[in-house]
Structure formats: structure tokens, C-alpha cells
């Protein structure tokens, strides 16, 4: 009899097919148990076929599956083109599941009465459900009523979430917002001839009046108030309704999705919701703080799970999507929001600003092109740093410690949301940073991926770095809903590429003054001692398969973790990049003046081996 161990699928699954229908590409993976638990067997991809001329998402799914068939040598489709289930002997699969962000994912407008209270709670509910929030409307925002109506009219959302008022509180404000939404009567993004779904999750006493104001314009659904009292937030009923409507209403109008939903052994998940589920499941299993990022052409998603409480017993999960920050379609927005100067400051070489703008513009209009020379690559990676750090700033601003389930906080805390929440996401509480998206996963050198993550997120203390090399997080997220153990196993063994460990003392000092002493004991018995001055960075090789013991001590004015430790002795893991000792300071500040700044950035690039030609 086969003995059960950690690697065995909890469901007894031996073969699983998973697809992620992205905006441009549909990716299929086949996981098989060949005696060591479910592991990646083959991966295939094909263009997504939601748009003209095919307009049927399942065509792309079958094309990607055929590639998996060819690569794995397994027969997965029958003669009529259906996925064979249940699997028997060498053919077919036990389960087929899928995620989707095709056609732009789930796009929502959220509205509340007070922007920083019910508006923010509604935003959190929508983002947690995997939506891209196109706009947050609030009774108290600075726009005039007619501007709000015009704004809603221009947008074509998939769904609206309306919150506002505590139960038993004032009704008129939320009814007024409902009247504005009804006057705007936005049209749905996909399909015609049906009413746009609107979820009402506000003051329960105003439900009848709100419904009356919206009747005939929207498909009205009411759920429990997501902010029943000032100090209580109850997001789950709204999130569940968003998921249900996403499947029943939105996806039902997307080309081919009715067919796809009949094929899957479980609900179709929005891609970001699946990635979030995987991150939560993995962080929970390992009891570690995780920050994950997916930087795409149009949007950048950030997921974080940190632990609070003295014993790190309470997980706090947050997800944000920066809908206008990305590496191609949204490159203009990155430039608009940070300015070209902020991008150019990362370049170790001089570049004419007009020429730089033109290069970035060309990336926007031809997103699939790749840099063919080093300065072009440097520029693209400089934009990535700014897009990532701007997205992180938005995440920090938003991540205020609510996990979404019923949670109680005091009235005083409720009015101090920014201050209270900001303390919850501290970079020294992050043990692992996972990078995903073309600019990180496909960087010509893993050092470049690691340095983009370090420069943008500024990890503090001791942090492991990894990249999702084949963007399998969505697939594993949907798998984790039925088999979290297998999903975590595949994540570690087949999905994540360990880059290594970054050690970054917190604090700032005088350039060149002593910052860190490190003594590293390698597995082969070799011991290396290093003294690193403030303002510099050092990279050491430490292979993926090895660990090392390390003793760290920082100078006065610096510390190494949440407990303000100045001396730490621990074991660290290697990776393709190795060990990075980053003594450039937290926060990281680049020098002023073009030439001194360039000299500094060039020095760091040379030290870490960032680009082949930098030392020329």
C-alpha cells in the first residue's frame, strides 16, 4: 500500500490540467504524479481567442492543451476536441480547472458615502475579489455631482459595488449616490441587451429606497452591509456576490465562457484572485511574510501577507492593483506619474531625454518588441523600478490591516485608518519577495531581476527573493482551492526560481563609514568575513542548493529587523544570484547631481555584475 506523505495529493489526484486565459495568451499546464506527488509535466501556450475573429475562449484553451499534449506525449483531448475526464491509465486528466483575466479581467466601479471609510471598505472588497477598480466614487469626494455622473457615463464597467452608511444611520447620502448612478446609467462593457449588475452593500435600512432609485437601470443585488458599524468591517458577503456575478453575469456574456465554465471542475476564478489565494495559502503554510508582484504591460498587482501579533499569529492579507502602471500599454502613465527624471536616475549611463522618451513610446505602441542593446535594456528596467515602486507606494497606502473577515476595531482606530494601517506593512516583516511578469521573469540575467526587486521594494533586514519563471501562480492558486498541499509543493519545486537572500541594514549613515560586519560559514567549511561600508553593495555566489551560516553585526544607528536587532546569527539560503549585502541604506536615496548619481549607480552595477558592459 502506498504510504501517504507530504507530497501526496490530498485529493488523490494523479493528473491535473490547469489553464489561465490571459488577455493575450492562454497558458496550460499539466501536473502529473509520477510517484513524488503532483509535479509540472508540461506547459503549453496559445493566443487567447476572446476577440475577433474567433470570439470563443475555448479555442485558445484547446490550442494550448494540444501543445501540452505534444510536449507531454499524453492524450488529453478526445476526437471531438473535449478534455478527457476522468483520466484513465495514460489518457485524460482527473481534474480540469481554469482562471481568467481575458478581455481585461473584472472591471468595477465602487462607491461609498465617505471615501476614507465605506468607500475604502468597498474598494478593499472589490480588490480582494480580484477586480480592477476603475473608479472610486464617494459622496464626500471633491467632484461636483454632474462630474460624477459624467465620469460614470464614460466608463463601461462589468459591475458596480455600492456601499455607504452604517446600519441604522443616515439614509439620504447613499440614496443620493444611487440616484446619481441611475442618472448616469452606464452601459456594460461586454455584451448588450442586459442590465449591468449592481451590488448594494450599504446601510440595510436604506435598501428599499436604494433599490427603488436603481430599479429598471441595474440588475440589483443586495448583500449584508460591508460596514455595519464604524468599527466593524464585513467584506465576505460582498466578495462572494462579486464572484457569483462575475461567473453568472459577466463571464456569461464573454465569448465562449459559458462553454468553458461547463468544462471546469470548479468555479472559474479571476486570475488575480487565484494568485492571491496561492500567496495566502503558501504564506500560511510556511508562516512567513510574503510580498508578491505581477508586473504586466498594463497593470501591476501587488499581494502581501504579513503577520501581526506578538507571536506572529494573525495574518493580514492585502491586494492592490495599479491599473495604470505597467511596462508597455501603461508606460505613458508611469512617466506621467513619476516623471522621466525619476526613471533616468537609475541609468548607469547618460541618455538624451527625448531619445529615452521615444524609446519608451515605441515600447508602448509595439508591446511585444524586446530591447536588443544594453542601454535599451537599462531603460526598460529603469521604468520597471519606478512602476514597481509606485505600485508599492499605492499598496502601502492601502494595506491597512483588514483581512476581510469580520473584524472589530475601536472607533478611535477607525478614524485613524492611515496611521494604524501603515504600521502593518513593514518591509522587515517580509520574509520572501516573489516577482512575476515579463520584465522580471525574462530578464537576461537573474541579477537584474533581483536588483529590480531590491531597488523598487527596498527589502529591510533578511529577505529571500524569487521569481515565478513561468507564471504558474494563477494555475496553482486555482489548484490550492482543492489541494493546497500539492499547490505548495509544485510552487516550491517547479514554479519559483530562488534568486537568493538580500541582507539590508535599516538606517542611514555617512557615505564610506562602517555599516555591516558579516561572517559567512559556507557548507564546504570555508569562512568569509566582510566589512561593508555605508553606501555600497556586495554580491557573493551562494548556489541554490546550498545554505550558509551567517553572523551579522551592524554599526550604531543601524538595525537588522523588526526588533531593532543589531546582531543576528542565522542560516540563509542561496539562489541563482546568491547573497546580496545591501548597505546602501533604508530608505535608499540616490545621490544628487547627474554625474555623481551616475557614478554611484554605475558602481553598484559593476559590484553586482548587473550589466556586461557597464564597466567599459
Amino acid at each position: 500500500m502506498k504510504m501517504h506523505n507530504d507530497r501526496d495529493s490530498e485529493q488523490g489526484l494523479t493528473r491535473v490540467l490547469l489553464t489561465d486565459c490571459g488577455s493575450t495568451t492562454t497558458k496550460a499546464v499539466l501536473l502529473e504524479d509520477k510517484g513524488k506527488g503532483l509535479r509540472l509535466s508540461a506547459r503549453g501556450q496559445a493566443p487567447t481567442t476572446v476577440e475577433n475573429p474567433v470570439e470563443d475562449v475555448t479555442v485558445g484553451v484547446l490550442n494550448a492543451t494540444r501543445e501540452v499534449e505534444e510536449l507531454s506525449g499524453r492524450k488529453l483531448l478526445d476526437d471531438s476536441g473535449k478534455i478527457i475526464r476522468p483520466g484513465r491509465q495514460d489518457i485524460g486528466v482527473d481534474k480540469y480547472m481554469s482562471t481568467s483575466s481575458a478581455g481585461g479581467g473584472l472591471q468595477m466601479i465602487v462607491a461609498g458615502v465617505v471615501g476614507s471609510m465605506t468607500g475604502e471598505s468597498a474598494l478593499r472588497a472589490a480588490l480582494g475579489a480580484g477586480a480592477i477598480v476603475m473608479e472610486l466614487l464617494a459622496y464626500d469626494d471633491k467632484r461636483s455631482p454632474h462630474e460624477k455622473v459624467e465620469l460614470v457615463r464614460r466608463l463601461k464597467p462589468d459591475m458596480i459595488l455600492l456601499a455607504g452608511g452604517t446600519d441604522g444611520g443616515t439614509k439620504s447620502h447613499v440614496v443620493e449616490i444611487a440616484e446619481l448612478l441611475a442618472a448616469a446609467a452606464p452601459r456594460p462593457r461586454l455584451g448588450e441587451g442586459y442590465s449591468l449588475p449592481l451590488i448594494y452593500a450599504g446601510n440595510k435600512d436604506a435598501r428599499r429606497e436604494v433599490e427603488s432609485a436603481l430599479k429598471g437601470v441595474f440588475e440589483f443585488k443586495a448583500v449584508e452591509n460591508l460596514r455595519p458599524t464604524l468599527e466593524e468591517e464585513n467584506l465576505e458577503p460582498a466578495r462572494e456576490e462579486i464572484h457569483r456575478l462575475f461567473l453568472d453575469h459577466v463571464m456569461a456574456h464573454a465569448p465562449g465562457y459559458n462553454k468553458l465554465m461547463k468544462w471546469t471542475d470548479g468555479p472559474l476564478m479571476p486570475t488575480p484572485a487565484a494568485v492571491g489565494a496561492m500567496i495566502q495559502s503558501y504564506a500560511d503554510k510556511k508562516k512567513i511574510g510574503v510580498l508578491a508582484v505581477d508586473i504586466g504591460g498594463a497593470t501591476t498587482d501587488i499581494f502581501s501577507l504579513v503577520w501581526t501579533g506578538e507571536e506572529r499569529e494573525k495574518p493580514v492579507y492585502n491586494r492592490t492593483v495599479s491599473a495604470n502602471l505597467g511596462m508597455s500599454y501603461s508606460i505613458g502613465n508611469v512617466l506621467d506619474s513619476v516623471g522621466l527624471e525619476e526613471v533616468l536616475k537609475w541609468l548607469p549611463v547618460e541618455m538624451d531625454s527625448k531619445e529615452a522618451l521615444d524609446k519608451l513610446g515605441n515600447k508602448m505602441i509595439r508591446p511585444t518588441t524586446i530591447p536588443d542593446h544594453v542601454t535599451g535594456l537599462m531603460l526598460e528596467q529603469a521604468v520597471a523600478r519606478e512602476a514597481l515602486s509606485s505600485s508599492m507606494a499605492q499598496h502601502m497606502e492601502f494595506a491597512r490591516g483588514l483581512s476581510g473577515l469580520k473584524r472589530t476595531r475601536t472607533v478611535a482606530e477607525a478614524f485613524r485608518q492611515k496611521e494604524g494601517g501603515a504600521h502593518l506593512l513593514n518591509m522587515s516583516g517580509i520574509d520572501l519577495i516573489i516577482g512575476s511578469g515579463g520584465v522580471l521573469s525574462n530578464a537576461p540575467s537573474r541579477v537584474q531581476a533581483a536588483m529590480m526587486l531590491i531597488d523598487a521594494f527596498q527589502p529591510a533586514g533578511i529577505t529571500r527573493l524569487a521569481v515565478d519563471s513561468i507564471f504558474m501562480l494563477p494555475h496553482l492558486g486555482v489548484l490550492s482551492s482543492i489541494d493546497p498541499g500539492s499547490a505548495a509543493n509544485v510552487l516550491e519545486k517547479d514554479c519559483l526560481v530562488n534568486l537568493g537572500t538580500c541582507i539590508a541594514p535599516i538606517g542611514r549613515g555617512r557615505h564610506g563609514s562602517h555599516c555591516l560586519t558579516a561572517e559567512i560559514r559556507f557548507e564546504n567549511g570555508k569562512v568569509q568575513a566582510l566589512d561593508i561600508p555605508f553606501g555600497s553593495i556586495k554580491r557573493l555566489d551562494l548556489p541554490s542548493s546550498s545554505k550558509a551560516g551567517i553572523e551579522l553585526e551592524v554599526s550604531k544607528g543601524f538595525f537588522l529587523g523588526q526588533g531593532r536587532e543589531r546582531k543576528i546569527s542565522t542560516r540563509i539560503r542561496g539562489g541563482e544570484v546568491g547573497l546580496i549585502l545591501d548597505c546602501r541604506g533604508r530608505p535608499l536615496v540616490l545621490g544628487s547631481g547627474d554625474s555623481s548619481r551616475r557614478e554611484l549607480v554605475n558602481g553598484w552595477a559593476v559590484e553586482t555584475g548587473l550589466y556586461d558592459l557597464v564597466d567599459n
Binding site: 439620504s172 512617466l335 515605441n362 524586446i370
Partner: protein, 374 residues
């Protein structure tokens, strides 16, 4: 191994085109299947609801929303003028009298007894859709528009600004590498679609449009200028009913980039013809590129069968290709070979590449992702 498909922007002297022309909302379709239509002919028309202006009558009168009905002088659906009194509260003492006046001309849509908020809808605005393509109506989309089919020359651009326009094509440069940093003196530019070379500055573009040109076509344009111009156009669209009327089509990309010879020659040969130009660009999912349709009367000037030969868009040895990014941006060359294995390029990346022979006889490896068919 099957050769890799390479997308490219179309440049065709004549081709059979279909264009679906739709209203943004339901309206009246003014054509029938089989009708011959001209590019500037209106084929569908709708009334765009005017903007909604909410305002609080309750606050103006100082009475509870539930009691407003007693004071209203207008009822739902009534037309109102800007400044017209729509509710009034009278009192023996003048100081206690109050009135609510309409903030705009339009129709009173509703008055809420719960919030006291009134909604005025400004008058409808007409929206018209032109045929854009000279051809035949092959299908009517009820209440929306029509599908038009016809022969035309086609040039797809890489980027555009503005909406749609129509006019006579007028080349104003002698070569595809010519840069226009100063506005040329041209006698009659009104309603003309002006064609330039490798680059036009933002100021020259604005001068040409202000002088009456309906559109400007150029090989390259500065991205910084395009970002500024985009913001100015959006601001004008918001402020004035007609919005910004100029159209820009950039055929190659951002920077000083020689217009592709094939494009330049086709446009020069078409000087004096009527063209439809769309600057509408969408770079996200569901890509929409700007385009220039060159019209001709096919009954008088029928296309030859050889003109209509469609080539399949695959990268294969012997094909002429164009580099669309990187060091050789804008250069054309002959594809020599397609190495099977990923090749290391200057950045250190291993990518699928193609060996290209350029005009100077040198052969270079170029990432396949950076190529399109010439």
C-alpha cells in the same frame, strides 16, 4: 518547421475592405443593403443624451425633501431654460421666500422625495456616423449602423491622435527622410490631408491644423510631443462641444524615423485622391490602429487581379522585413535565415532571432519579436 507568423502594419495599393460602422448608442440607420455609399456620407444618426446636472431643490428652498411636491412649478419631463424658476416657496414675509432655478437648459428628469435632488438633462446632441469607406452596404445592423464593403488603398499607422476625417491627400515633402521643424508656406491647405516625411514637430502639426488641414501623416513624431498633444486634445474635448478637430497619423513610430519607402511611394502616387483618415488608436487588448483609406472609383479604375494578391504573413528566408525596435529601427533588409535555437543577443538574452542582410550588405541577428514584414 512552420515559419513564424509576423504581424505587420498593412500597406496596400488596393484591397477589398470591410468596415463595421456603428453608433455608440441606438439610433436611426439611414441606408439599406445594396446602397452605394461615399466615404463622407452619413449612414446612421443618433441623439446623444445631454449631460446630467444634479442640484438640490431642497437646499435652495430650505424645505424637507418629502414636502417638495407642494412647491414645484415644473413636473417631470418638462422643458426648462437656464435660470428658469422650477420651484418656489412664498411667504408673507419676503425674507422667508425662496426659489430654485434651473442651472441649465434641458429637461427635468426627476425630483427625489428622499434626497431633494433634482436632475436636469441638457438637450440631446446629434451623433452621426459616416460610411468612411467608399463601397456598398452589405448588411444593416438594426438601430446601430452598417457593414460596408469596398475597394481602397490601405495604410495602417503605428499611432494616431484625434478621431476621423476625410480630405484630399497632399504631400508636402520630397523625400521620406525629410524632417519638418518649420511650417512650410502652402497656399491652399484647407480640408487637405497633409503628408510629411521622417518627422513633424508638435508646433508644425498645430500650425498645419490651425491653417485648415484636416489631418497630418508623418513617419515619426516625438513621444513627448504626443503626450503633451494628447492632454491638450482631451482638455479641448472636455471644454468645447466640437472638441479638437485635427487628426495625426504616425506611420512608423516615435522619434525621427524615415517613412517606409513603400508607404511613402504609395501616398505620393495617391496625391490628389480623396482619403479617409482615422487617428483612433487603442494599444490595449483589442488593438485599434490608425488608418488611411485611399479611395478610387473602381467602376472607372478597376483593380487588377495581381493587385489583390494577398501574401501570407510568415517570416521566411527571402522575405523583405522591417525592424520595428532597437538599434536598427526603421531599417529594411532581406531575411537570410531563421536559426532554430535561441540566439544570444547584445543584452545577454537568448531569444528567437533572424539573420537579416541590410542595404550595406552586412548581416546581423535581430530578435524576431522586433521584425515585421515589409
Amino acid at each position: 518547421m512552420r515559419n513564424q507568423y509576423a504581424p505587420s502594419l498593412a500597406v496596400k495599393a488596393i484591397t477589398l475592405l470591410r468596415r463595421e460602422r456603428r453608433l455608440p448608442l441606438k439610433g436611426d440607420v439611414l441606408c439599406q443593403p445594396g446602397d452605394r455609399v461615399m466615404p463622407n456620407q452619413v449612414i446612421a444618426r443618433a441623439r446623444l443624451p445631454g449631460r446630467i446636472i444634479p442640484f438640490s431643490i431642497s437646499r435652495s428652498l430650505g424645505v424637507a425633501p418629502s414636502r417638495l411636491a407642494e412647491y414645484l412649478l415644473k413636473k417631470k419631463g418638462d422643458k426648462v431654460d437656464a435660470g428658469e424658476v422650477i420651484a418656489k416657496r412664498s411667504s408673507f414675509l419676503k425674507v422667508f421666500s425662496a426659489q430654485a432655478v434651473s442651472p441649465a437648459k434641458g429637461t427635468l428628469l426627476s425630483v427625489s422625495p428622499l434626497t431633494g435632488q433634482a436632475l436636469i438633462q441638457a438637450p440631446f446632441k446629434p451623433v452621426e456616423v459616416m460610411a468612411f469607406l467608399r463601397g456598398t452596404v452589405i448588411e444593416v445592423i438594426p438601430e446601430r449602423g452598417a457593414l460596408i464593403e469596398g475597394y481602397a488603398g490601405l495604410v495602417q499607422g503605428a499611432f494616431g491622435l484625434g478621431k476621423e476625417t476625410y480630405g484630399e491627400l497632399l504631400p508636402i515633402v520630397d523625400s521620406p527622410e525629410q524632417v519638418l521643424n518649420e511650417t512650410p508656406g502652402i497656399d491652399d491647405i484647407r480640408a487637405k490631408v497633409v503628408m510629411a516625411g521622417a518627422m513633424v514637430s508638435k508646433n508644425v502639426f498645430i500650425d498645419l491644423i490651425e491653417a485648415g488641414a484636416s489631418a497630418v501623416i508623418t513617419g515619426g513624431f516625438r513621444f513627448g510631443d504626443a503626450m503633451d498633444l494628447g492632454k491638450e486634445i482631451n482638455a479641448k474635448d472636455r471644454k468645447s462641444a466640437g472638441g479638437f478637430q485635427g487628426v495625426l497619423v504616425v506611420t512608423e513610430g516615435f522619434g525621427r524615423i524615415e517613412m517606409a519607402r513603400k508607404t511613402f511611394e504609395l501616398l505620393c502616387e495617391s496625391a490628389g485622391r480623396m482619403v479617409s483618415v482615422s487617428g483612433i488608436t487603442q494599444v490595449r487588448a483589442g488593438v485599434v490602429r490608425p488608418e488611411i483609406l485611399i479611395h478610387r472609383d473602381v467602376t472607372m479604375d478597376p483593380p487588377r487581379a495581381t493587385d489583390l494578391n494577398e501574401t501570407i504573413g510568415f517570416l521566411e528566408p527571402g522575405r523583405m522585413v522591417r525592424v520595428i525596435s532597437g538599434k536598427r529601427f526603421g531599417k529594411t533588409g532581406k531575411l537570410v535565415s531563421l536559426p532554430k535555437d535561441p540566439q544570444r543577443i547584445e543584452t545577454g538574452a537568448f531569444v528567437r532571432a533572424a539573420k537579416i542582410e541590410f542595404d550595406n550588405g552586412r548581416e546581423e541577428l535581430v530578435p524576431r519579436a522586433n521584425l515585421e514584414l515589409e
